[in-house]
Each structure stands twice: as C-alpha cells, then as structure tokens.
C-alpha cells in the first residue's frame, strides 16, 4: 500500500493542474494577506495593544473576502481536482486491471489514493498557513501567541477535513461514473449546488414550514432557526461557521457569518470578553465531527462500491 501511496503523492505534486491550482491559491492568499495586513497596520497604528490581532489577519476581509472565506469557497475545488479522475482514469487507461493483478489487496488501492490526497492537502495547508503567518508577522510586526497558534492549528484541522470531504466525494464519483468528464461535471455541479443553492433553498423551505410574520418575533426566530439548521446540511456552511468561530474568539455562537470591519471588531472586544480556546473548541467540535463523519461516509460508500465492482474495463 505504501508503494501506491508514494506514487500517488508524487503524481499529485508532479501534475500540472495541481501546481497551477496551488500557485493560484498561494497567489490569492498572499495578495489577500498583504492587503489585510496593510489595512490592519494603518488602523492599529498608535492604538493600544489588541488581543488576537494575529488571527484578524485571516478573518478580516481584504479587497473582497477574507482568507477563510476564500478557502471555504475554493477548498472544494481543490478536493475535486485531486479526486475526480482517481479511479476512472486508471480504468480507462487499462492500468486498473494491471494494478489489481499485482499482489496487493484491492482496498489498498483506494485507501492509498484517499490517504495520498489527504496528505497532499495537509502539506498544502500547512505550507500555506506557515507562509501567510510569516508574511503577516513581517507585515504587522506581531508574533502569534500560543493560543493563536493553537487556534490556527484547529483551523487547519477543520480545513483538511473539509477539503477531505470533497476529495472523498470526487473519488466516489470517479468510481461510480466511468467517464472522467461526467465525474468532473457531477462533482462541480454538487459543489455549486451546495455552495449557492442550499443557502437560498433553506430560506425557502423555512418560509414554507414556518411562515414569518413581521409582528411576531417568535415566528421570525423560529424561521431563522429552521433555515440555519437546513443550511447546515451543506458542508460549506458547516465549514464557514466552524472556522469563523475558532478564528474569532469574540464570536459566541456559530450563527450567521456577518462581516465586521476591523475597527468594529476592536470596539466589540471592549465590551465582550473573549471565548477561551477550550470553549471555542467545544463550540466547533460537533461541526468538525460532522465534517469528518461526512467524509467517512463518502469514503465508506466508495470503498464498498469499489470492492464489489467488476474488474473488467468496459
């Protein structure tokens, strides 16, 4: 299994599309961090020392979006691009039957492919976060505290689980759908659906179940709660809720991701006390569990389908 794992990793790092994607992500991330750190620097200059300034590097929006929003949006694409042709390319190239006729267990192939994907994602995230932290430290001149570093680590963990989910999804499609093009389209379609339409859809469904009434705050609250629950079906919302909680100690709940400018945030912090690291982790733990569970389900289904599939290539 280690042999396959090693080859898959090498394949990922050698493939042009992965390199392009990686450069793209790094480029956008660097740009965002740069603008954010410039903004932060001008806003905090002369001010008092602010807690969790370092994390604001990731949560404050630059020109258009904050870094974690970017990853929430773009992460799925990374997973999809790494997984959508994992099995069906080997099938159509005829290498799958060759692989299966070697003395390796059948599940080793799919395990190795999945693990190699996860490892690649992890390497990518760790290097990304380290790079950005380095840049941030230089730009705003703040060294992250231990707690901030721990929060970043949790953030990375959630991100890896998140992209891992999409990887599992894409691999599943690559097993079920024999055509590479169809598998790619199907995964992208699912991504778009989950990213954009679940949000609208949850509002609609909530309106149907619990119609709102301007004069009845209780109904409105119920409506919002239902919409929130439904939107959490989507891993994208799960992820952005979870990451914004862990990265922003002043958020007490995971509800609605409202953009706040840095100054507002600072003024908010005057009146609120921050959640401790442990409390934040407790808040996001269910989210992380759900993400991991979703990934596990994807993987388990892929595993079962793959183990039962006919070998011959059609």
């Amino acid at each position: 299994m280690f042999t396959i794992f090693r080859k898959e990793i090498a394949d990922h790092f050698n493939s042009t599309r992965f390199l392009i994607l990686f450069c793209l992500v790094i480029g956008v991330a660097l740009l965002t961090t740069y603008t954010v750190s410039m903004n932060l620097r001008s806003e905090i200059s002369g001010g008092a020392k602010i807690e969790y300034l370092f994390l604001m590097l990731f949560t404050t929006s630059g020109q258009f979006f904050s870094l974690i929003q970017f990853i929430a949006f773009f992460g799925p694409l990374i997973g999809i691009i790494m997984g959508f042709d994992a099995i069906n390319r080997e099938r159509s190239a005829g290498t799958l039957s060759k692989l299966l006729s070697q003395p390796v267990y059948r599940d080793a192939i799919i395990n190795a492919k999945f693990l190699a994907g996860i490892a690649t994602i992890s390497i990518m995230f760790v290097s990304l976060v380290l790079l950005l932290s380095g840049l941030g430290m230089v730009a705003i001149g703040v060294v992250p505290s231990g707690q901030e570093a721990a929060r970043l680590a949790v953030y990375m963990l959630i991100s890896i689980a998140y992209v891992g989910f999409w990887l599992g999804m894409a691999i599943l499609f690559s097993i079920i759908l024999r055509s590479i093009g169809t598998a790619a389209l199907a995964s992208v379609a699912l991504w778009i659906f989950v990213s954009f339409f679940v949000g609208f859809g949850s509002g609609l469904i909530a309106d149907v179940i619990a119609p709102t009434d301007q004069n009845n705050p209780e109904l409105m609250l119920k409506n919002a709660r239902i919409a929130g629950a439904i939107s959490r079906v989507s891993p994208v919302n799960l992820y952005s809720d979870a990451t914004s909680t862990i990265m922003d100690p002043y958020r007490k709940t995971t509800k609605s991701f409202v953009l706040v400018g840095p100054m507002e945030k600072i003024s908010m912090s005057r009146f609120n006390s921050a959640l401790s690291l442990w409390q934040s982790i407790l808040v996001v733990a269910p989210y992380l569990t759900t993400l991991v569970a979703l990934t596990a389900v994807c993987f388990a289904v892929s595993y079962l389908v793959f183990m039962r599939q006919e070998v011959r290539s059609i």
Binding site: T3, I4, P103
Partner: protein, 261 residues
C-alpha cells in the same frame, strides 16, 4: 507432467447468461496452451476467475496449487498476467512503469534494477527504456506488457489477446517472443486469442471455447485428425483432397465447430 492450471466445472453466470459453462481443462507445466474462441466466448471471464479477480458462480480451479478464490494474493504473486488492453502510465517512462510493478511485488529496488534490464532486453526495448510510454507504438506497448509480466519471475504467464491490434509482423515477433520464453525459461503460458492460424504455430495444445463451453481440446494434430474424420463422415467427400490428407488448418476445425452451433 504436473498441471499448473486445473479447472473443474468452472461456471460464471451473468444475469441469465452463462459466460463460462462448466469448463474443465488443464494447462501442463512448460507448455503453451492456446485458449481460443471467438469474441464473447468467455475467455476473459475464465482468466479473471483464475486470478481471483472475479468469483466463479460454481466450480473450482487451482492455479499453481492455490485456489484463486481463497488465496488470490498467492496466485497474483506467482502468475504474470497481461490484460486485454495493456495499460501504462503514459507520462512515466517504460522503466519507471516497470519499477512501479516491481515495487508492488515487494521487490527491493536493488534487485529489481537487474530484472527490469533483463526484461527490457528480452523484449528488445532496452534502447527505448527511458522514453515515456505515451510515445510508444502499439507493438512496443504490447512488448512492454510482456516485459512487465516477466518482472515477477513467473512460473506461469497468462496473456489475454497479446496480439491485439498488431500488424502481421508485430504478431509474429510477439509470438516468437512467447515461444522463446517457453522454450528457454520453461515458463508455462496460457495464451488467449481469437486469431487461430497465427497462434496455432506456437501452441503445444489448444482448447477451443465457444459460448462458454469447451468444444475441443488437444494438440493441433489431434484436432486436425478428428476434424478430418468428421469431415469425411459428414461431407461425403466434399472439399479438396488436400484437406483430407491432413493439411487441414485449425481454422477449418474452428469453423466446423461454430457452424454447428
């Protein structure tokens, strides 16, 4: 002589179709056994069962003394298999393709280096070893497939349509290669094909499969003799005298079996 492959009443049913129907045959040590039959006869299905890649509906088989259903890994360790459409990682060189296979067979790189060189030498690809396989011609790919099979140092190789898509010259060179492996290294070969008159030259014995059933088995001479008898009995002297004198080709035998169906 000991048998390297033995099957007993091997059957595979897909839905309502019997792809392989109570197949009983054996391949002996050191021989080239031609497994012949038209498209859809069930050759590939049989092979997949012999390698434990597909489970038989009923019946059993032994490959090098192992049951492929129970110990597929033991079989796969020892048997070299070249599938119908040999595939390679096109962006990797021939050498690294072979090296990957060697690693999958748990051969340390120090050992595999020499084996890869030997195998490439045997199939006359040593000069092209560092080209990406994507740049290979059909014939070269087919020969590389045979090299890959040799990496394991197998006692038995199973080749599914090794001559597919080759021109007559390519077919000949591949068949000669197979013959030499059998003669010089004592490797037993199960050779699947629907091309009869080419393959009959290298096969020691053949089995003819049609619609999942083995309709004839034996050396070419035996089949030819049987064919003549039947021909004489049924045709009442039709056909050319040359046929009756034993120059009957396997093709004629083959045609005879399939016309009856």
């Amino acid at each position: 002589m000991a048998a390297v492959i033995e099957t007993h009443e091997l059957t595979k049913i897909y839905g309502r179709q019997k792809a392989v129907d109570h197949l009983t045959f054996e391949v002996r040590q050191g021989e080239i056994f031609g497994f012949l039959g038209p498209n859809g006869a069930g050759k590939t299905t049989t092979i997949l069962m012999l390698l434990g890649l597909s489970e038989p509906t009923s019946g059993n088989s032994r490959v090098l003394g192992f049951d492929p259903v129970r110990e597929p890994l033991k079989v796969k360790e020892r048997v070299g298999f070249m599938p119908e459409n040999v595939g390679f990682y096109d962006d990797m060189t021939a050498r690294s393709n072979l090296q990957y296979v060697a690693r999958l067979n748990s051969l340390p790189d120090s050992q595999s280096k020499k084996r890869i060189d030997d195998a490439l030498e045997k199939v006359k690809l040593a000069n092209e070893a560092n080209k990406p396989v994507g740049a290979y011609s059909r014939g070269m790919r087919q020969r590389l497939g045979i090299a890959e099979v040799l990496i394991k140092n197998p006692k038995l190789i199973i080749l599914d349509e090794p001559t597919m898509g080759l021109d007559p010259e390519g077919i000949n060179s591949v068949l000669e290669l197979i013959k030499s492996l059998s003669v010089e290294e004592g490797i037993s070969v199960l050779l699947c094909s629907h091309l009869l008159h080419q393959t009959q030259k290298v096969c020691d014995r053949v089995g003819i499969l049609n619609r999942g059933r083995l309709v004839a088995k034996g050396t070419i001479e035996e089949l030819a003799r049987e064919g003549i008898q039947a021909e004489l009995a049924s045709a009442n002297g039709r056909g050319t005298p040359a046929d009756r004198r034993g120059l009957i080709s396997l093709e004629d035998i083959y045609m005879r079996y399939f016309k009856e169906e």
